[in-house]
């Protein structure tokens, strides 16, 4: 059979393809629908949080920070409850990372504050002596891209039925509505409102001034995102 295949490239290629495609079908198909169902307490990202997530991706934060807490005592002691599949239901793409040059950030919103992030992003080694993390000072002057975040919200709401402007159940039995603007202007206004709350807890005068002018520096969006990780 093999000798025959080696003389017939088309059938050889078909044979190879079937052999390699098999595993993917068996591994990927069965649990696909189940694995992406949100758990109670998981809400979609707001416009500003999503813009911050884009800043996180733009700078490959995931190259050094994981967002996946494994079910070991040493990890739950350090980072909090281990990760559940449904908590990632609104993560497109997933940001688990594959290397912890720095600590896990899955629940960083539970134990770090706006103020801490502000100082740390400016000068990591000044906050954590011995840190090898580079500074991200340009995030204080470069503005976040709110329009793209809004376009992504619209896309996921339309194609994947992500529940914006709809009540989602929270752990304490209440519900939460994550708002999405009806137009670009409205989306920007919503993001700015959220940005003002973050900037109020920041010290950098340039950032405060920018937000007062109606601009949203990247750092504000990033902190909104990091604070949402719980």
């Amino acid at each position: 059979m093999f000798h025959w295949l080696e003389k017939h490239p088309f059938f050889f290629a078909v044979g190879v393809f079937v052999t390699i495609a098999f595993a993917g079908l068996v591994e990927i198909l069965p649990n696909f629908a189940e694995a992406s169902r949100p758990v109670i307490g998981t809400a979609p990202y707001s416009t500003l949080e999503l813009a911050g997530r884009h800043v996180y991706i733009e700078n490959s934060c995931n190259a050094c920070h994981s967002q996946l807490i494994r079910p070991f005592k040493s990890e739950t002691d350090r980072y909090g409850h281990y990760s559940l599949s449904g908590e990632y239901a609104y993560d497109r793409p997933f940001l688990w990372g594959s290397k912890r040059t720095g600590p896990d950030l899955m629940r960083v919103g539970n134990y770090r504050t706006t103020d801490w992030h502000e100082n740390h992003m400016k000068d990591p080694a000044g906050v954590v002596p011995g840190s090898v993390m580079p500074a991200y000072r340009w995030m204080f002057t470069k503005n976040a891209d709110i329009n793209t975040a809004y376009a992504e919200q619209l896309t996921v709401a339309q194609f994947f039925s992500v529940p914006y402007n709809k009540p989602v159940p929270m752990k304490d039995g209440s519900t939460k509505v994550v708002k999405m603007g009806g137009s670009i202007a409205e989306a920007n206004a919503l993001a700015l409102e959220e940005a003002k709350a973050i900037a109020a807890n920041m010290k950098d005068q340039d950032v405060k001034d920018a937000v007062a002018r109606g601009e949203i520096p990247q750092i504000v969006a990033l902190i909104a995102y990091l604070n949402s990780l719980k």
Partner: protein, 497 residues
Amino acid sequence: MENRPLEYDYTVAKMFMLTTVLLGIVGMLIGVILAFQLAFPELNLVLGEGLAEYTNFSRLRPLHTDAVIFGFTLSGIFATWYYVGQRVLKVSMAESGLLMFLGKLHFWLYLAVVVAVVVSLFTGVTTSKEYAEFEWPIDIAVVVVWVVFGLSIFGLIGIRREKSLYISVWYYIATFLGIAMLYLFNNMEIPTMLAASPAGETGIGAWYHSVSMYAGTNDALVQWWYGHNAVAFGFTVPIVAMIYYFLPKESGQAIYSYKLSLLSFWGLMFVYLWAGGHHLIYSTVPDWMQTMGSIFSVILILPSWGSAINMLLTMKGEWQQVASSPLIKFMVLGSTFYMFSTLEGPIQAIKSVNAIAHFTDWIVGHVHDGVLGWVGFMIMAALYHMAPRVFKREIYSKSLMATQFWIQTLGVVLYFSSMWISGITQGMMWRAHDEFGNLAYSFIDTVTVLHPYYTIRGVGGLLYLVGFLMFAYNIYKTMSARPVEESELQSASPMGA
């Protein structure tokens, strides 16, 4: 015409040899910079505060991985295909105007994609998925390049004189099909410019932005099914294709066993795809998939070692060549690193080992003993073998090759040994508890302790880069400094006796 050997046309092979060398230098140089940035963080500002955004570790990291995988390695795969393909199929590219056109088109489109990728990653336009960072416009261009590559392969096969496909061709076909399938499915994404707001606005935000079709755990599953097997079909399958051709050619020995090559090929094809799950052990993907990933990773030793043993036994009775020929040294050590790396991987895929190894530098070390020791050595050996035949000149310096070999071997050893120590140290410190059951170390303790190993790793990487520059110089001198021979060198390997 009857009794003359075929004249092969190496125009396209030469083009891809050039990018193999250039992108190799770029990828490895960025790697060395990254390595030293971890040891000495001030280097993040190497070009000053104004350019910090572009010289920063996190921006450069995807450039390093992609330059080595899709620059250096992929160019090497293309270069060897346009050399090996003609020879084992006994047909010259010059015989078909169409194939020649496709080959050149392949090269120029590839180069255009490389430029687009460099610009996009420097500016932070990325999807964040490892080795699949490109946004949808580049993804489409990649697919076009790949289709042209496929047409080149099957076109040449279509007009072949030798009816039986040599082992190397099996592996090139598998490379084409495997990457095609993986890349398409992992990059399923929806451009956000398609969305319309309730107010009727369209084309909102960045036109190149997209959102993944898969969410969370599913996205991770598809990504590592891709990520692991991009390694399979980029770093293993085509490199095996190379060694099956170049080792017998260079040593003058026939492949040890045809049956072993059959077993290894079909075994590798079947088993490799299952092993992707070992990247997701203790994550939120279903437990049975993690276990499958773990088990199949261990089974994977069989076909991997099958190929490697087949190579080493091909040298049976001819081991003196390892001493006399630097080119054989590269290939034999390459096979050895392949065995080493394909044993180390399965060990790391065992659940209890993975609990320590995952997220640490040990994984980084594992990747590099494979890529530096196996992929890098084999591609350089292939180019060294091709250069005299393609340029019709003798290799410029054999002693430079030997020096390069030892410098790079030392570099690889420093690299992986420092990363083992670093990875296991950090893995153990993360999980250490004191007598009261509290964590023994804060996270930063587990970072500062790694400084000496990061420095050693940087030195190892630098040595490898120095060796690679010697390789580039040797090839350049071969191209330019020696007189052109009258006809193609037929038999004698440049290294023989």
